[in-house]
Symmetry: D2
Subunit: 496 residues, 4 copies
Amino acid sequence: MSDGAAITMIDELDGDTLHEECGVFGILGHPEAATLTALGLHALQHRGQEAAGIVSFDGQQFRAEKHMGLVGDHYTNPATLAKLPGAMAIGHTRYSTTGEVALRNVQPLFAELEVGGIAVAHNGNFTNGLTMRRQLIAGGAICQSTSDTEVVLHLIARSRYTNSTDRFIDAIRQMEGGYSMLALTRTKLIAARDPIGIRPLVMGELDGKPIFCSETCALDIIGAKYIRDVENGEVIICEMQPDGSITIDERKSTNPQPERLCLFEYVYFARPDSVVGGRSVYVARKNMGMNLAKEAAVEADVVVPVPDGGTPAALGYAQQSGIPFEYGIIRNHYVGRTFIEPTQQIRAFGVKLKHSANRAMIAGKRVVLVDDSIVRGTTSIKIVQMIRDAGAKEVHIRVASPMIFYPDFYGIDTPDADKLLANQYSDVNAMAKHIGADSLAFLSIDGLYQAVGGEARNPKKPQFTDHYFTGDYPTRLLDKDAETAGSKRSVLAAGG
Amino acid sequence: MSDGAAITMIDELDGDTLHEECGVFGILGHPEAATLTALGLHALQHRGQEAAGIVSFDGQQFRAEKHMGLVGDHYTNPATLAKLPGAMAIGHTRYSTTGEVALRNVQPLFAELEVGGIAVAHNGNFTNGLTMRRQLIAGGAICQSTSDTEVVLHLIARSRYTNSTDRFIDAIRQMEGGYSMLALTRTKLIAARDPIGIRPLVMGELDGKPIFCSETCALDIIGAKYIRDVENGEVIICEMQPDGSITIDERKSTNPQPERLCLFEYVYFARPDSVVGGRSVYVARKNMGMNLAKEAAVEADVVVPVPDGGTPAALGYAQQSGIPFEYGIIRNHYVGRTFIEPTQQIRAFGVKLKHSANRAMIAGKRVVLVDDSIVRGTTSIKIVQMIRDAGAKEVHIRVASPMIFYPDFYGIDTPDADKLLANQYSDVNAMAKHIGADSLAFLSIDGLYQAVGGEARNPKKPQFTDHYFTGDYPTRLLDKDAETAGSKRSVLAAGG
Amino acid sequence: MSDGAAITMIDELDGDTLHEECGVFGILGHPEAATLTALGLHALQHRGQEAAGIVSFDGQQFRAEKHMGLVGDHYTNPATLAKLPGAMAIGHTRYSTTGEVALRNVQPLFAELEVGGIAVAHNGNFTNGLTMRRQLIAGGAICQSTSDTEVVLHLIARSRYTNSTDRFIDAIRQMEGGYSMLALTRTKLIAARDPIGIRPLVMGELDGKPIFCSETCALDIIGAKYIRDVENGEVIICEMQPDGSITIDERKSTNPQPERLCLFEYVYFARPDSVVGGRSVYVARKNMGMNLAKEAAVEADVVVPVPDGGTPAALGYAQQSGIPFEYGIIRNHYVGRTFIEPTQQIRAFGVKLKHSANRAMIAGKRVVLVDDSIVRGTTSIKIVQMIRDAGAKEVHIRVASPMIFYPDFYGIDTPDADKLLANQYSDVNAMAKHIGADSLAFLSIDGLYQAVGGEARNPKKPQFTDHYFTGDYPTRLLDKDAETAGSKRSVLAAGG
Amino acid sequence: MSDGAAITMIDELDGDTLHEECGVFGILGHPEAATLTALGLHALQHRGQEAAGIVSFDGQQFRAEKHMGLVGDHYTNPATLAKLPGAMAIGHTRYSTTGEVALRNVQPLFAELEVGGIAVAHNGNFTNGLTMRRQLIAGGAICQSTSDTEVVLHLIARSRYTNSTDRFIDAIRQMEGGYSMLALTRTKLIAARDPIGIRPLVMGELDGKPIFCSETCALDIIGAKYIRDVENGEVIICEMQPDGSITIDERKSTNPQPERLCLFEYVYFARPDSVVGGRSVYVARKNMGMNLAKEAAVEADVVVPVPDGGTPAALGYAQQSGIPFEYGIIRNHYVGRTFIEPTQQIRAFGVKLKHSANRAMIAGKRVVLVDDSIVRGTTSIKIVQMIRDAGAKEVHIRVASPMIFYPDFYGIDTPDADKLLANQYSDVNAMAKHIGADSLAFLSIDGLYQAVGGEARNPKKPQFTDHYFTGDYPTRLLDKDAETAGSKRSVLAAGG
């Protein structure tokens, strides 16, 4: 029974995508809190496939279940849910950015405080997590995990305030970065979003009971009603009263700043049926494709989406351009493992395990391939190869977002800057040649802003977080300035 | 170590689909025969997710690996493939029709004969399997599995011929039904298709080495070339000669009859990128949608596919009707397990685990839902409910195949006739009301024939197998006439 | 889910012991037949640790559970036993002699016959198993396992008799060798022992219901009463009558021959608390030690048993010689796995994982080490080394059985003849030197006969089976004469 | 991947024994530190079968492997040991007293301090653990485990000293109770024993490299040399110097007090081949049996040990009394799981799964049963029942230790006082009747003292820890006085 044992993951193609680290879900006052949390996390599975945890409180005791793997691998077991009684629960599904893969890093994390227990889960990343951790260790704190979330727990434990809400706010005021956070105490469910609202967090209700979750799709799966987004810099405290009623207290943790949601939520992370910041993600993506068709038209016979990320944009591109939309690439639903490649290598092997060319829609055709983004470009090369092998006359790549030049520090796992395609070639034609495409075009930053928010980028006061495209980081970067991210690793590597 | 132990399956919605039982793959003369077979089976995974087996021969010894679960769960392990040396292999991926779930039923099955070992794998079902089994047991044969394939092995073992090819042909001549079969001996790879070619089987080659597989998509994944379909009633014997060359001997097992491929391969089973009987499955499905739009037009704002089966037909419907195609239903890729439903029931629960309504494309809209087929209708009810809950103004269902009235006996797992929606209501309006749709229409049988083959059904000499729609069974049904299918079960239920 | 997957075994030291292959247990008419069978097999676990299987019949259906590993690993699970309903069951625990390790070889084996199903389990080995298998395959039979038991099933299936009892007797009359066999039909529990009774089999009863099992210890664990040994060449048929009563029919399968029980059952295999052939195994072993003390006295300070086999003999030796009996070697109860030896090798490493020297009883002492038998001698070398390292002044080995010169063909897994210590050295002094002992002595064959049966060996008509010591095989050896045992392996190696 | 998942344990009979919680092992400067630690823990397996952990340091990074189950279940895997590189390691095998069963409680525990990482493992229990934990939480510390060891880590982390040795000593000075403790820093292996030396700890060496372990048997298995016992109240700091040499610094953590080793180490816990406090455990146990024979003689035919604890004492009893020693009870080596008892109950069921009566040595005999101790007496009842069922004429129980009246707080898991047999009956005859024995006698406290140390108990200054017999606790009991042990439980119950 190892706690770092074999993990089943849904691999993305060659790691040539960006990873979001987490989804969160919490509910207060519902008799089947853990069951609903499991369903909510299942709907948020796309935000993290590495591990999932749930903590519940039954009036007497906090209970935790944490498991490596998909939500459906464990929380479909009635025995597992039976171990999570109570009307209050928070849950977390994760892809790791900081912190190695080990069960003790799986959230929610829990601490027994003098004022009672507290469990915390968050999506995002602190830009001063390492700095704070060092200060805490110097002050005699023991860090059991390598997760930034534990830093918050320590700050809560060491706060001079007596009330758990005050301690929580005291703690998050010391943290910088992008985060959406949920906390569970013996009577309260607390939700908080970072000062500029980089990561999303919404509030809903089911039978009058408050729910918080990363995306609206987690409300839909359980038939809950969307109320509003948690605002940037806001803390909402829902408390179960002795008479069974629930009070809701809305506060600000910081002085108001303009909200800047992460654009990549619209480009790639959020589920298309979610509504983020009041905007349909699906509509935003179709708009990206439409704007791309306006900006980068090409004569062609067929518009083919690169599944699944590029599909809405491809549909938008097709509708705008009038070129027929066709499934030129078929996705194999049974992915997840890396098969062994024969010695006699197969062209585009990695891609073929997951996708196949639909020859009838490709052969002899001029194909526009629409993808959501290009990170390293390694997958694009194989896809073009596969499309050409299927007989395409021309292959034109259209990317529904701008070129990526800069790393992220707010919860998105980006490769080293020099691995990014955009940093390897000076112009788009060289990139097209590298990939093997007849032409290549990216959506402009203004095209993206307009697709999402209706207006072009305001360079003085950008409406969204967009540093991966522009280098304009929305906060200072304390840890990064202090040292390299590599030293963030704990010296205990726990395999088991 | 149980041989009937826990199985991970990709559940279909409520079992409200038809199941195909098998995919087969075989290759002769290639140094990485087992690795290529594993890849081929992965591409055929949609034909059976219950178990997969591979038998190889290395010049000295036959080796078998059989595992419950997906191909990728086991055959991605180098240690497993290392146990399958040799340049000859056949593999099988299965969904069980006859035969309970137990490892000893997983194909390929093997027998040691006086003339040497032989392994057999097949896709399809024998209509006289039970009858033959009874005769064999009366003659002192011992049946270890409950699989029909074992009957063929016994007939081979007891044949009076001395040559393995002659024994094989002698055996299959005694069997009736629909099947595509592969056999592996110490020197030969043999492929055979039933007299009217109900189940598909194609021949390809890689580096000059012959391959047989259920669909062309298994050739594509390894970069192999399609040569031709194995003909109905044909037996092809590929033999490795002492000098390393391969001879190919093409024979007929029976007198020629007209070919009648199963229409459901086009409607639902085959992968859209496969070419079956020389016809693109994707194009056939789009044609079904186009014909459906002609036959059953409706005023609407949006055409929404029921994923994934209905997607090509929906695209065809949209292109023909001019109504925009939109993703009104989003599929959750992380399915596979049945979550626990809260006591306070969630509307359309089962469907929501796998699909969600994309409200932005549904609310206030007149929706045309396009599905590939309706079996029991239980899923349709939930999908309509989910679409209405998302605010649809009208919901019109269009089904890209005719009503299903009759069970199958050739390898498709159909529910009891009285469970079929078409047998429960006398007219389509009553069905629509039952499902909750504003209207409902099915593609006509001629519309389907034209979509697939270009011509209407020839009632005297139907071009395809279509009994589920018409009751016109293409062969006699010996077992069925003799008794009920229930008694087909062996009296040994092996749980472990 | 592999059927040849990882197996947990209680390894014996370096394989330097003989292995018995099987224990059997059967009961008729008891409502908890499978539960009692599991307990009986647990008591017989020392006869085979590789796998265990149970078949029950509930009046409607035969059910089988077969699992690699110990009885306690699987049959302690209520869910597993619940899958074995009915008042009739037979079970088997095995160590393989013939037949590779694979679940499909685990007994009981089952066949559906025209006259109804039959399950068979046996302990022992057929000396004409291979010869019969060849005849059967030539006659068109398909062998799915590599177990000799399957040969019996085929003979039953092909018998010209109509009654299952007659078919069973017809089948075993064709088999030669040493065996104790149980069969279960829809109404009968049949027990049979080979013509000279090499392998043991006893009959007992619980609440008036008949039980058969390999040793009396399996009766003791469930509080059942011992009735008598099944006689050599006897077949006992217990039949459940329609009125619920049980009839017992005792027959002879062959002409009476004198019984010759295997001496190794007394020397090593049987549990000391069992009564075999009417003689207490424990008393027999103590007698061996006493006779050894008479035959091979030595001046010493302490008698130390080599655990656990040598313990009763050591006690006998001590009581006879007057030298104190002491635990000079302590057994580690947590064995089972082979630990990794450090590069800097540890003396007597393999032995130390399982035993340790009790220095307080060894240092400065003249030690008599008493062991039950010596096979290859590799363990003896390490034990002497360990005892010397603990400070022994002298080490004298006394072995409570004669030297082993010849292989067995009746169910005991013996190493190749040239690996046996007795065949490597011409005299006992050379052996002592090889092992590192100050002296070495073996019990004489007459000393052994007297210990077990009270009388010296009758060379013309030996009272026991003793070929491993004498070369006097009690039956002809058809397979061995026909060819080497190596070719007995099937050409299908099923890893999964 | 749960961290609280299914655990395989070697159950003791009905829980009717006392449990020791831990064994520890550490080595400094040996290239195969982890491999040797695994072997040492295997030899200490009897001290804790629930879980085992090893932490190593390779000069760069600490690595941890922790697994539920036996040492041999995991640390025999080369891949697991490969994850533990470095020349320094400490390991721990545990049976839990305080702290629930969960992987995060498995030792060694680790903390990253400002002065570098430290790993700690201990055997024993703190009598002020809960009190200290409360103080720490009030001071803002976060406790992730429910293990007392974590308290020590926090005290080290918060110590005002800068040097790790000083911090360690500062921390253990604040703890009360019985413990043997090992710590590993980047350069040091530190060993410490509680002020009166309740729990054992010895020092050895292999190739000049220092080793510490709970018992000498862990030295024997790897061929290491015993140097001396760590003294009570002593701290030994072994440090790796930059030049590769090792310095050894011996200190006192407290003012000297007389040593009082726990008597139960001699009675039951330690392995018989170990030397504890300079005395052979085996010899001490034989002495107990001899003294018992003097104190409580009885006319009988045979002395039978209750395996395995009672065996050496039984041998002593037999040698002293002249009554023959015989194996009247045979132990089944394949225990570990609880089988299902038939509805029709089996007499002495629980005992029979593990032991069986050797009827040949029992029937018609007057039997002296010698056991090491009686806790609740539930097992004794069943054993007497089994012996009587086997035909014993008389059954006399002789217990080689005094009656147990009081619970332990130093690492032995004792049942509630009212469950102890000695507290349920006023005199030994009533107990004998309750158990079903013809007579019953316990060794006197002086008899025990003499057996172990040669002298009777000095009531003013007892030479050993013996409160379970006498009520004379060797330290104050802060936690117990403050409240009940029940409230020691954390409010987080982590199932996964």
